[in-house]
Symmetry: C2
Subunit: 353 residues, 2 copies
């Protein structure tokens, strides 16, 4: 019996549909020879859908998506400052709602500086680390509020919520990742000297779980110091585990030093398998270049590699990564930039030749 | 009548005393010709004092410090992991207590890449911006707590508190800074798409105050995107205004790209003048190199320039900056690193020659 995988595809807004089209082409090419079929359902969600219908993500949408085995997402969000979107927070109402509802407690973001890719750093060294960002807690929980809004006496609060349950499960995942990497090193990033309660919880749990992983070396950095090392000595990092907000900040910086967000893939993972995991490029919808075939689909295609890996299709995942790596190396020799679909086609050719 | 300035000096721990010694030498040399005298009171505070007496900062200490016109601080904090300091949070109990008690609502952190200084960036361009970091609100307020600590059901919260009063005063300060700079550009950095209540407050206040500064152009960046621009195009920044935690993170990154925290100065400013402002290098106490005359006192000396500027001694401030700039340019020609005091002496020589 050949495995039949139900894939939810959310192309989204801006460049999302263009990069997703290439990612799906690559997904099909990479698994054509395998005993597996993908059955894709396309969901029209994002700023465009909101402007048409007034809906961001209905309960029916969510239930339908949850019935799939995995999700591939392009990018969501309209033109910044569009007054028709002023009261719709697409990010919170769609992207974060999916991450929270589907219990994506691991936000996995690898940073690799591929051969030949220019870095803004003068001497980047060997950049090859992965950030395990917590995905369902911290300052992202939506536990904020304001009183006397719009007056001189307004007070606006945001609460970061951190639980032993939530921290322990993501820390365990990070240790398991570190255990399987050649360098076996894990860095906790937080701000324990200021956020003393949340910081203490993270620190105690890392210390406790570390005892079960004697082969993994562990260190700690304050988030401010971590940004310094990311530009002065990124090769010191192997696995970083950190909270939702610090992870958001560090992974954009990490993407920047390893060739830009055009190359940065991510997985929003529910390791329990109770809900489908969601794979997406780290970049946004970039409405300014949408529809022009200018976007680089590489990040979306590398997200397909993470998706395949997650589904246990490790050979296909490795083939995608190898094809992308070869394509990236070949890019330096090309004089002119290629269209979005030309990049996808080139990678498909490498997979099928 | 010659102005008589009462200066509180807090050398602190680690390399603090060494860099402060040079900073005070430079302060005296820079103002020797002026009609002004400095009367310094030295306060023994920090991890060392805590280990001797059990006190971090007493009410008497605070009252005595508050009676001065300005504060010069080196660095505080003991050896990381020292078990005797496990229950003393020197950062919160001393540094943050001073900033909050003395209402240092502006944390001013200029980033300038001086000529000849190596940056980790391949093409840094013209780096010359200033971060106006809020200093008395946000996630730094110490409004956190935990229940069921140490159990599997622990919940640890941290509350970011933001007020119209607190945001407006720092935003006004930032606009006034931008108005006086050649490029007159201000960037608000926040995370409005996730921290919607705090973000909305910041955004509304920036828009409102912007109306009073028609000459200042304004833009907005999410904190994650700001880190990308800091490494890919730092010359786009002129004045950044941001909250306490984002400012902490961005200014370490900013220091890293502009030559390292050995050069980064800061002012914790109470613009109202109700309390003394405090000037300190951004770097920490670096206990590993303490007492060896290895620390670079430049950041402490540049903090003296900010102190002089704040006291209205603008000519003396300009002389210090010029002497430091000349010294930094001359460094490249030196084969070997100089001792802490040799750097201070060289700058004093430039001031007195
Ligand atoms: C769009 C936004 C809500 C999101 C986040 O903050 O997590 C994005 O920056 C990301 O990193 O995926
Ligand atoms: C030591 C620490 C509390 C402090 C801060 O977080 O503000 C430091 O990092 C700084 O930037 O001055």
């Amino acid at each position: 019996m050949s495995p039949h995988i139900k894939l939810a595809v959310i192309p989204g807004d801006g460049i999302g549909p263009e990069v997703v089209a290439e990612a799906v082409k690559v997904l099909e090419a990479a698994t054509a020879a395998d005993d597996v079929t993908f059955d894709a359902t396309w969901f029209s969600l994002g700023a465009g859908r909101f402007l048409e219908t007034g809906d961001v993500l209905t309960d029916d949408d969510l239930a339908a998506i949850a019935g799939h085995d995995a999700i591939l997402l392009g990018a969501v969000g309209g033109v910044p400052g569009d007054p028709r979107l002023a009261n719709a927070n697409i990010e919170r109402g769609l992207l974060l709602k999916l991450r929270f509802s589907l219990d994506h407690y691991v936000n996995l973001r690898p940073s690799v500086l591929f051969p030949g890719v220019p870095s803004p750093l003068a001497s980047p060294g060997n950049v090859d680390f992965v950030v395990v960002r917590e995905g369902t807690e911290g300052p992202y929980v939506g536990n904020g509020g304001a009183i006397r809004q719009g007056t001189a006496n307004e007070v606006a609060n945001e609460v970061s919520v951190n639980t032993a349950f939530g921290v322990e499960r993501v820390v365990r995942y990070a240790f398991a990742q570190a255990q399987n990497r050649p360098r076996r090193h894990l860095t906790l990033v937080h701000k324990t000297n200021v956020l003393v309660f949340a910081g203490s919880l993270w620190q105690r749990i890392v210390i406790a779980v570390a005892a079960e992983y004697p082969d993994v070396s562990v260190d700690y950095l304050h988030v401010d110091a971590a940004t310094i090392f990311l530009v002065s000595n990124p090769s010191r990092f192997d696995v970083i585990v950190t909270d939702n907000l610090f992870g958001d900040i560090l992974t954009d910086l990490a993407a920047a030093i390893s060739g830009g967000i055009g190359l940065a893939a991510s997985g929003n993972i529910n390791p329990d398998g109770r809900f489908p995991s969601m794979f997406e490029p780290v970049h946004g919808s970039a409405p300014d270049i949408a529809g022009k075939q200018l976007a680089d689909p590489t990040a979306a295609i590398l997200s397909v590699a993470l998706l395949l890996e997650h589904l246990g299709l490790t050979d296909a995942a490795a083939r995608v990564t190898a094809a992308v790596t070869a394509d990236i190396v070949a890019r330096a020799a090309l004089g002119t930039p290629r269209s979005t679909s030309a990049v996808g086609d080139a990678i498909v050719t490498r997979l099928t030749d």
